[in-house]
């Protein structure tokens, strides 16, 4: 039995199916991120766990107890809202103490706990301020302190960093991770930002169109995407199609333009199956000097996008009639870059190629 079990969750709004049969098992103390494009149903899942939405079908169990029908105020789950939803007419102290007050905690305990919480989020001495006197980043941390002050079983965060500027986002991101490590509270974090999703969680759930696409450790999800959506959504890659077959050298894919690509073996695929290959921009390398024997594609540079830490080449491959994206990090600062129109060769290691059945969303 897992700490939190989401079992066949389904939520409909009229004709719209926001969540379509999502099941997830979350262990105690885990930091789970849910990532997906907007409208994929990730926020609806959070709101259903808190009880702000009632499920059309399915069950939510917390420590084995069915909480599907419980009203929000009896669930003991903290939620950090995207726009914080602080109470503007209450001081920071009253905001953070609200959960304790609702539980009838005595004044002295409220004082102690709020002080502890504000220390945790580095906002000591903010008790008597009002939310509007605090900056965006401070408000965000007050919201976290408020959601954690009453010692909830579970803390949920709904895109809590999306209203902050980029630098603040990075620093608060690591602070959130630190707070979670310190308190050990089970946390579910929803975002549409893949950097946050990959860096924050112990486990990563990728959602699309109301369905769960993949749920695993972030590295595993990134390296071995199980569906075409995941392969496409995380990182930057180019999709090329072809036909799978095996020969003496192992599994390979004949691209539609005649190229041959060696790919990792996949027992579910048979000779002649239509497949999609996903070539990540950082896994495609420009060939200098020695030409590897397999997986080399030639093309001409169509456009160049200089980005400081790396340079993005868009390379037109006439055979497969597609433009591949290559992210190149210069090894030496004196290196000269390729120019428009240059003919170049690219190479990708066979194990770095993601090969998935074509036109089939779920495996």
């Amino acid at each position: 039995m897992s700490f939190l079990e989401l079992d066949g969750m389904r939520k409909e709004f009229g004709d719209l199916v926001a969540v379509n049969g999502v099941s997830l098992d979350i262990e105690e103390g885990q930091f789970v991120t849910i990532v997906g494009p907007s409208g994929c149903g990730k926020s609806t899942i959070l709101r259903s766990i808190t009880g702000l939405e009632t499920l059309t079908d399915g069950e939510i169990r917390l420590e084995g107890e069915d909480i599907t029908e419980l009203p929000p105020y009896r669930r003991n789950i903290g939620l950090v809202f995207q726009d914080y939803a602080l109470f503007p007419h209450k001081t920071v102290f009253e905001n953070v103490a609200f959960g304790l007050k609702m539980r009838g905690a005595p004044e002295t305990e409220q004082r102690e706990r709020v002080e502890e919480m504000l220390r945790m989020v580095n906002l000591e001495g903010y008790e008597e301020k009002y939310p509007k006197e605090c900056s965006g980043g401070e408000q965000q941390r007050i919201a976290v302190a408020r959601a954690m002050a009453f010692d909830p079983d579970l803390v949920l965060m709904d895109e809590p960093l999306s209203n902050l500027d980029k630098n603040l986002r990075t620093s608060i991101r690591s602070e959130l991770r630190r707070i979670q490590d310190e308190t050990g509270v089970t946390t579910i974090y929803v975002t549409h930002n893949q950097n946050e999703a990959l860096s924050l969680g112990d486990k990563l759930a990728v959602m699309n169109d109301g369905r769960l696409e993949q749920f695993d450790e972030p590295e595993t999800v990134y390296r071995n995407p199980q569906t075409r959506f995941v392969a496409d959504f995380l990182g930057r890659s180019t999709e090329v199609t072809g036909r799978f077959r095996r020969d003496d050298g192992g599994p390979l894919v004949e691209l539609d333009g005649g190229h041959r690509m060696r790919v990792p073996d996949d027992e579910s695929l048979g000779d002649g199956d239509q497949v999609s290959l996903f070539l990540r921009d950082e896994k495609l390398k420009l060939v200098n000097g020695n030409r590897p024997s397999v997986n080399v594609i030639e093309g001409s540079i169509e456009s160049v996008d200089y980005r400081g830490r790396d340079i993005n080449y868009f390379i037109r491959v006439p055979g497969i009639d597609q433009t591949l994206q290559v992210s190149h990090i210069a090894d030496h600062s004196t290196e000269t870059f390729r120019e428009l129109g240059d003919t170049v060769a690219m190479h990708i290691e066979p194990e770095n190629v993601t090969c998935l059945p074509a036109g089939d969303e779920a495996l």
Binding site: A85, M102, A147, F150
Partner: protein
Amino acid sequence: MSTERSRIPALKDRVMENDWIRFLISPGLGIAWILLFLFLPMTIILVISFSIPGDYGNVIYEFTVENYRRFWTADVYQNIIFESLLYGVVVTLLSIPLGYTIGYFLGRSKTDWKWILLGLVVLQYWVPFIIRTYAWIIILSNNGVLNQLLLGLDVISSPLNIMYTDYSMILGLTVSLLPFMILPVYVSVSTIDEDQIHAAKTLGATDFRAFREITLPQSMPGIVSGVLFVFIISAGAFLAPVLLGGPGTRMIAPVIESVFIQDFNWPFAAALSIVYFGIIGFLLYLFNRRVDLEEALETGAT
């Protein structure tokens, strides 16, 4: 395209450079406006209130405090002002729960019909008060709709005498002033982010607790502006006591009118007006000490 776009700032500059337009929108003009239409008439009334009434309804401009002494010595006028304020309090107390309920649900509702419902709230002002009064007569009089209904259902055995009493006047005033309570409450409730209520619930508040802790305190500005509007308008009501009230209904506005029009005693009527004005001003001052009016009106209006 580009020429047209650049024309707009140029037009704006031309408008702003025009001295007349700048004068019209300058704050000084606003102050002048207030002086002309509020301060000046009040000053005239103040001057008249310290003058002597002539025998033929004219005003003799010689200083006297006789009008105020008459108010002070005759209990009747003090009682009338007191009763007016009391009616105002009753109407206000009735309109708070009625208006708040409607304003609250309008503010919270997400229906597409909201604008129509809001329109219905102010629809009654399309009809003059005098005509609305006839509607009350049709409903409340002894052989009116209400009494016929209750008699027909055998709830009562003889018609209730409601029309032309304090009850009909209070009812008429309350219904007619309800929008002044509904609209500010609606505005202040609808500006409260729904997520705040959701947040309160996830923090352990029941629906009622969330209302008391989150919605009610933040809609206080709306209630305060509503109370001000309803109280001041109802205490100074003129048509309602005349048209809906009974013989025993005494309110200050009709009394001042009759002193002006029937007694032709302008100075005494002016003195009554000034006294009443002073009392309302004093009450506002007391109110202001309890509630920060400016802040309340500001947040209520946004």
